[in-house]
Amino acid sequence: MSRNAAQWTQRPRFPSSHYVDTRVYTDEQLFREEQDKIFNKVWVIACHESEIPNAFDYRTFQHPGGQNLIVMRGDDARVRAFYNVCPHRGNTILYDPAGNAKRMTCIFHAWSFDCRGSCIDISRGKEGFQDRLKLEDVSLREVRTDVGYGGFVWVNVDDEAPSLKEFIGDALAMLDPYMQEPMEVFHYHKAVVNTNFKLWHDTNSEFYHDYMHYFNRITGMMQPGYFDRKYVGYPNGHASVGSMEIKYDKYEGSKERRIGWPGLAPGGWILIDIFPGMTYNLRTSVLRMDTAIPLGPNKVVIEFRGLGLKRDTPQERLDRIRDHNSIWGPFGRNLHEDLLGVHGQGIAMRDERTDSHYVLHARQENMTIHDEGGMRHYYAEWSSRMGRAASDPYGERSTAKGAAVAA
């Protein structure tokens, strides 16, 4: 029997940790708070060290907190990050997504900066500012930067935040043995999807949606060991999923995996979600990295990177590219399905007058593969950082209870 309006909007009969109010995906105010209380407080991945291998190489990065950054390797090989904003009139300094610049010169009025963020030239400075402005008064704003956990470049715009090491804790220990060799990015593309960034991270945090993927059903779900994979939650909202042996040959047309990944069992698969929107995904012969950058409550840009080993021979690299593309490329079998899934959620939760009111995270299967504990773990961290319950972000339940008691 279907439900009427009152039944549809009723809170689920689960503990409050087992569902969320869909306004956490649609509300503009909550999104702005997420930028301030989450993204501007945590470490996020800006790029990979292999994208800036030489002195003065740079990448620009749109930080999910809203800032535009420059990530640059200095003349001392150290990687630093700066706001991509000229202190003079607020113009963008570097326009291209990547390049090499011994000096960064703003095209607007030709102020120049070096790779360490110092202002090194103000055009006609003496004539205009006399002795009222020194170069050191207008250096760039540097952002905390660290390189690690597979050679990724991490940034944190909060000068007071705990270190990257404290933020990650033991969450990446399962992957650590497989990230000892230098890696290199060979694939990069972005997808802009009208959906909330957390819905993408949710998809990376649960495997129940393998029902959507023919490839995963045939090579994983129908194979021994699939239901033994377990979620493990770590401090700060991170979570991992244990490995199993994927039977790639069960998919018609799937070629023998020739190359693999050093130390990883054939068919092995390790997935680790880093709060609030990054995912390490190691399977076959490729490490995939997703980074979600929200543009609004219902719009996200997701960066997809595929990485191999820096020492790859040309043939090994081609094998990795083939493995990557078969499921994860823009024309791959799985990525399109995953994006189609969150695109559909974005349609159903398109604004604050959404058709959907609650999303269930209530599956309990001893934290094995179809348990939704990974998402519960995430939203516990989200609630703690936001000072709001994900199941009741505006405290209406407690207010209603209070009113009922008073009456």
Binding site: E51, Y188, H189, A191, M212, G253, F331, H336, E337, G341
Partner: protein
Amino acid sequence: MNPRAAIEQLVYRSCLLLDERNFNGYLGLCDPEFRYSITAHSPEIRKDMIWLDHDKAEMQTLFNNLPRHNSDHSPLTRHATVYTVDIDEAKGEASVVSALQVFKTALDGGTTELFGVGKMYDSVRLNGAGPKLLRRTIKLDTRMLGIGYHIPF
């Protein structure tokens, strides 16, 4: 029909057949040694990328598996313009460069958006009954394909 006209017909028919999802018809235009690739250059990582690379049998498998997958059903419309045809009579092959635009039309309401832009670099085998596609490399300028697509261009 002169060779250039026959080659242009081959390119245009390949677009029409894929638009119609007539995959067997499309593969019928291809030489047994056919190879298909989609590539793009990433200014972000400053590298050329391969996004798809299949021989004829792999293309057949890709098409066979389509009904088993969940896919965006919005139809695509491919628009090609053959720019240059260079015929190597001694080799019995032609090199063809075409501009390609791909449009996507939403099923609900029929809004059409430009989905992708690039160029098609075809090698065409001229021996035998008629021209056949020997190799097709699509170099995409567009790298933002939204939720992606399961059917090649």
